[in-house]
């Protein structure tokens, strides 16, 4: 990253580090300065926040009933031992 102001193209590559809070303080400050005056990057960040939010609401497929029953039987056998 250059020492000067951040460009939008640079900012989009730093978003995950920003979210995960792993940017060095100086880079974090530059990131936030850019964000404060850039509507495009504000929208971009917001899109990613929503993307992450939607990912968290996906539900995993549940275990197949047959596999579940087999494993419960394994549990019962184990219990008997």
């Amino acid at each position: 990253m250059t020492a000067g102001n951040l460009t939008c193209k640079e900012l989009v590559e730093l978003v995950t580090e920003y979210f995960e809070d792993t940017l060095p303080p100086a880079d974090r400050a530059r990131f936030e300065q850019h964000l404060a005056r850039c509507g495009g990057c504000t929208n971009y960040l917001d899109q990613l926040r929503r993307t992450i939010d939607m990912l968290g609401k996906l539900t995993e497929e549940s275990i197949a009933p047959q596999a579940r029953e087999e494993l419960l039987q394994i549990f019962r056998d184990w219990k008997k031992d």
């Binding site: 792993t22 968290g56 996906l58 275990i63 419960l72």
Partner: protein, 245 residues
Amino acid sequence: MSSRLAARTLYVGCVSHMSTFQQVGKEADPAGIVASAKDLRLVEALRGGDEAAFAALLDAYHTSMLRLAMIFVPDQAVAEEVVQEAWLGVLHGLARFEGRSSLKTWIFRILTNCAKTRGQRESRSVPFSSIWNPEADPGDPAVDPDRFNPADAPKEAHHWVSFPNSWNEIPEERLLSQETRAVIQQAIEALPPSQREVIMLHDVDGWASQEVCNVLGISESNQRVLLHRARSKVRRALERYFDDE
């Protein structure tokens, strides 16, 4: 041979190859995440033969375990055997679980041990870190370069040509619709396996970064790179979908 017996036979094979469950149980978590009070209560219930407690574990982790096993072994059928083997390993290791890692990390470590052992036997030895070599993979940019002004633009070089749209006006029920979910699912399925696994564990299953690193055996920074690429691609797919309306 019933699949139960098959699992038992495999389990024995698995144990003879992998580090023993005793070692797994005693291994301290590198991130210092230890078992919670809830984990310890659950372990006590399992030791006491509480079937409902075991069923709850199956419901919580089985699908993720199956997906993760698929990285190391050639097909679904083998992955299913590996997961069954791992569950058996969990049951037999319970007596020695000392709570020096979270129960989840411990279970998944048993799973990856079983899956790697089996993968080697099936001549498909793929430790997760070798599936993806960060140096050899420069990756795609998070955003299509055409979305930014060129470097020689008279002003605002590398700034947005046109802003990404705000999604604030999109109603909640649309964001959570079946159709939107399908777009996300497809985008995830199209990812390379390493990116897919990281985004599933971290963002869909809600694991902490350190837990993901521990189970996959990758560094925090590599995990972040994979997560970054995966999220960027899912966002792109969603943007395409919402902009098309």
